[in-house]
């Protein structure tokens, strides 16, 4: 394989359901997650949090807490760097409140003590005097003229004049003439939708162990999706030189986007610097809900026009996203993803980023896209129903494909939406009979995917095995897929590769494990690092044989002369070459550093059958099928796992999960009992179909798969509920009270 070649067939290891290399550690309890590390002399920390949604911090009195035996140090905002601006200042404000507490749960101080119990007791003794301010938590109310201002001057120049100060960013895109488009339609449906904030709900709370000396050299262990990002942000928050802080990523107990930010890590470092001791800081579940990053909540208006034959003539969407007390709600993605599955001549999308007294939203699997799909795909479903058209036929008729113009502008490259729709249409699920009280829904979904800065090193050992160092934390089995790709290139057994997640001191920069980028970008880098090593191996063989480097090829783990003209030599296996590498030019290491820009987008189509109990309003998902384009599945078992996990999270979002704020602006459901994520008895088996339309931007055709799977479920289930119960739910979650209210409303108003 030449360095940039594409390989599409004859895979030996890629495509196999190999066992993950970290499997034994993870089933025996040996794997070390964020909270599992210890250090000699370690202190435990606890954070003091605001009970108010919006309040000026008048005074913090730590004297009683300090007097408690076992307390070693307390930090407040005064212990962090000053002079930060822009995004860094927002991160610091969120990590530790400055003049104002901006949401229920906002950190205002932190304590380190000799035990966890003492630290918690001491946190209660810290006396904070607050001047309570008016608050707002709802997106529409936060935009209203009388809403309290979260932060004056937070808006950027994109915001049109006359908007409330809580509207901080504005997006508008599209093409064609939507009014003309609507005029062409035989039917126009217009509706408004709302979705509540949900949480990623990773089972492992944020945890870290920090050591920072007076010399400003530090070590940090934490569960994160991206330790280089943690390094950069923590260095800024504490006024350190980036390279002086070494960050090691622990095993990570789920992230889904929520562990791309920092929350407690700078606090633990500040406490460690203050006490000169290692400090461990672990969040409680309720802290995770109150003070990490849930999704944005949304309020959306959709208008779509359709001809009798199913052609969509125009689409328009307005998306208002509440992203907490800081700018950054992903409204531009909501807007850009909304109509992405469809080839529209006339389309317009508008987005507003709105601040409110809630925690700063964080990414959650395809940030912003699932909500858009919920609203748009619900309206398309209504149109199909009213015009008596098959929902898959209509989607096929309008589907985006290579060469059509995307709703956000560019012309599509090779994409696989049509293939997912066709696979869904021919899947037995789509034609299976339904029982009384059940309804079927379908929906499409879209996510961009991402490449990002990536560094990988592959070092050969003297026995011909290989150590692969990647910088993207393994959230769902990526060590296996990396080793598969390396084994494929080197032509050695999969088991002969050891994949390690390297710390920040041992590799170049690696962007966070997000944007479904790991198998794509770290995978691409692994393939290229392996090819770089193979090139050296071939050169060593050439030198030994006294022939030209180009006359050597690499096959099945051996160097061979490329043909009869190259000479007659016995193949040289990898271990023969590595055993002598010290004396033939030195260690053999392949590496690759780049920002690959060819992440292929991924589309999905989901089919769901739901059963609604009209007495209780309870909805049960009885059958579920995910069809998604993976480009090329390196390890099908883990690809299926991503499909199933995304679908399950989408089911939770659709039916149960929501942030519930009281009139007082406090979060009312900050435990798993009240914020109910799907449990095993809530779900059916989740069937999967992997469609493979290769991504031209990856040597094997890989597309990221981690995110798109959460885009269709919200709408697919809403469409199924509408078919099962005869009512259209326009607010998420479709919890029993909302379903009952909708049924009652329909009975009253016909």
């Amino acid at each position: 394989m030449a360095f940039d070649d594409t390989k599409t067939e004859d895979f030996k290891v890629v495509g196999q359901r190999v066992k993950r290399p970290d499997g034994v550690d993870k089933v025996t309890g040996k794997a070390k997650f964020g909270a599992d590390a210890v250090a000699p002399g370690m202190l435990f920390a606890a954070i003091v949090r605001s009970p108010h949604a919006h309040a000026r911090i008048v005074k913090i009195d730590t004297s009683k807490a300090e007097a408690l035996s076992g307390v070693k140090g307390i930090v407040t905002r005064a212990d962090f760097a000053t002079g930060l601006t822009g995004g860094d200042l927002d991160v610091l404000e969120n990590v530790m409140a400055g003049e104002k507490a901006l949401y229920d749960g906002h950190a205002v101080a932190a304590v380190a003590a000799t035990s966890q119990l003492i630290a918690r007791d001491a946190a209660k003794l810290v006396e904070v005097e607050y001047e309570v301010l008016p608050h707002v938590t709802d997106v529409d109310k936060a935009m209203a003229a009388d809403a309290p201002v979260i932060r004056e001057g937070a808006a950027d120049q994109s915001v049109p004049e006359g908007m409330h100060a809580n509207v901080v960013r504005y997006h508008e895109s599209g093409h064609g003439d939507i009014e003309a488009g609507f005029a062409e339609a035989d039917l126009v449906v217009e509706d408004s939708f709302k979705t509540e904030a949900t949480h990623q709900g990773y089972i492992e709370p944020h945890a870290c162990l920090a050591q920072l000396g007076g010399d400003n050299k530090g070590e940090l262990w934490c569960c994160t999706q991206g330790h280089w990002n943690v390094q950069k942000l923590c260095a800024a928050m504490l006024g350190l030189e980036t390279s002086q802080l070494r960050v090691t990523a622990s095993e990570i107990g789920g992230g889904f986007g929520g562990k791309t930010a920092v929350f407690i890590e700078p606090v633990a470092l500040a406490l460690s610097r203050k006490t000169s001791r290692p400090v461990k800081l672990v969040m409680s579940r309720s802290e995770v809900f109150r003070a990490t990053g849930p999704t944005a909540s949304t309020s959306m208006d959709i208008k779509i026009g359709m001809k009798k034959d199913g052609t969509i003539t125009a689409g328009q969407g307005t998306f208002r996203l509440q992203g907490g007390a800081f700018p950054g709600a992903p409204m531009e993605f909501t807007a850009m993803c909304a109509f992405a599955p469809y080839n529209l001549q006339n389309v317009k999308q508008v987005g507003y980023d709105v601040m409110a007294n809630r925690p700063k939203q964080a990414a959650y699997r395809a940030p912003g896209s699932p909500m858009a799909a919920f609203a748009v795909e619900s309206v398309i479903d209504e149109l199909c129903k009213k015009l008596g058209l098959d929902p898959i036929e209509v989607r096929l008729k309008n589907a985006s494909k290579q060469g059509t113009k995307a709703s956000f502008g560019p012309t599509w490259d090779r994409i696989g939406l049509v293939e997912t729709l066709e696979a869904a249409q021919s899947h037995p699920h789509y034609s299976a009979p339904l029982k009384e009280g059940q309804g079927r829904g379908i929906s499409c979904g879209f996510w961009f995917n991402h490449g990002g800065e990536t560094s990988v090193t592959l070092a050969l050992s003297e026995d011909g095995t290989a150590q692969l160092s990647v910088g993207t934390p393994d959230i769902g089995g990526s060590r296996a897929s990396m080793a598969q790709m390396a084994a494929e290139e080197l032509g050695i057994p999969y088991e002969n590769i050891r994949t390690t997640i390297a710390d920040t001191a041992t590799l170049g920069y690696n962007e966070v494990s997000h944007g479904s980028r790991v198998t794509y970008a770290s995978g691409l880098a692994t393939i290229k690092a392996a090819r770089a090593a193979v090139k050296i191996l071939c050169a060593r063989a050439a030198a030994k044989w006294g022939i030209d480097e180009d006359a050597v090829v690499w096959e099945n783990g051996c160097a061979k002369p490329s043909g009869p003209n190259a000479g007659e030599f016995d193949p040289l296996p990898i271990d023969k070459l590595t055993r002598s590498m010290g004396r033939t030019g030195g260690p053999i290491v392949g590496h690759f550093e780049a920002t690959p820009e060819g992440a292929g987008v991924s589309f999905a189509t989901h089919i769901v059958d739901a059963e609604v109990d009209k007495e209780t309003g309870q909805t049960k998902v009885v059958r579920y099928t995910v069809v998604q384009d993976a480009g090329k599945a390196i390890n099908p078992a883990y690809v299926e796992g991503q499909f199933q996990g995304g679908a399950a999270q989408g089911i939770g979002w659709a039916l149960n999960e929501e942030y519930i704020y009281g009139e007082d602006g406090r979060l009312q459901n900050s435990v798993f009992l009240d914020y109910r994520i799907p449990v095993a008895s809530d779900l059916p088996m989740i069937d999967t179909v992997i469609v493979e339309v290769p991504n031209p931007g990856h040597p094997y055709g890989v597309r990221g798969v981690g995110e798109t799977s959460i885009c269709p479920p919200l709408a697919a289930i809403a469409n199924a509920v509408s078919n099962a119960a005869g009512v259209r739910l326009k607010e998420l979650p479709m919890s029993p009270p909302r379903i009952l209210a909708a049924l009652e409303d329909q009975a009253n108003n016909g």
């Binding site: 025996t28 990773y202 089972i203 107990g253 009992l673 095993a680």
Partner: protein
């Protein structure tokens, strides 16, 4: 501080703990048995599942002091030396874990299920595991791994 004498995975163990300290914290912080995880601390996620005198409990809801005179079983005690328990094997084989944080609790819980109900139906497995949250997998591959283990164990016996 309370002096506790207990047996963990067959070994005699003693430790001192605060009367407020949970068994989970004692296992993790006092004894270095960090295989049991804290996902919630309120009995809702099952990541801390252990057995106490053979009964499945959430160790975050049990006090360390309550372990006195009892026999505790944790995930660390499932494999025999190098030999994994068949459930552990099947979980790896079926890709029944993604991040793996729920896995120790789910393994302890399913082992106790199969001891009580060697022939569970899918519904039985789903309800038995309803107290063990997994956010990554959608449970599909977990349920399949458990069902196949049960079938294999029946064939073997």
């Amino acid at each position: 501080m309370i002096h506790v004498n207990t047996k963990i995975n067959g070994d005699d163990v003693e430790f001192l703990c605060d009367p407020r300290e949970t068994l989970l914290d004692a296992l993790r912080d006092k004894l270095g048995l960090t295989g049991s995880k804290e996902g919630c601390g309120t009995g809702d996620c099952g990541a801390c599942s252990v057995t106490m005198d053979g009964r499945l409990v959430c160790s975050c809801l049990v006090l360390g002091a309550e372990a006195d005179g009892k026999e505790i079983g944790t995930v660390e005690g499932m494999a025999e030396g190098e030999n994994l328990h068949i459930l552990q094997e099947k979980f790896i084989e079926h890709a029944a874990l993604q991040c793996g944080i729920c896995t120790p609790g789910i393994l302890v819980a399913t082992k106790s299920l199969l001891e009580k109900h060697p022939e569970p139906t899918e519904t039985q497995v789903r309800y038995w595991l309803a107290g063990n949250l997994c956010r990554c997998t959608g449970y599909d591959k977990i349920i399949r791994a458990v069902m196949e283990t049960a079938a294999d164990l029946r064939k073997a016996s």
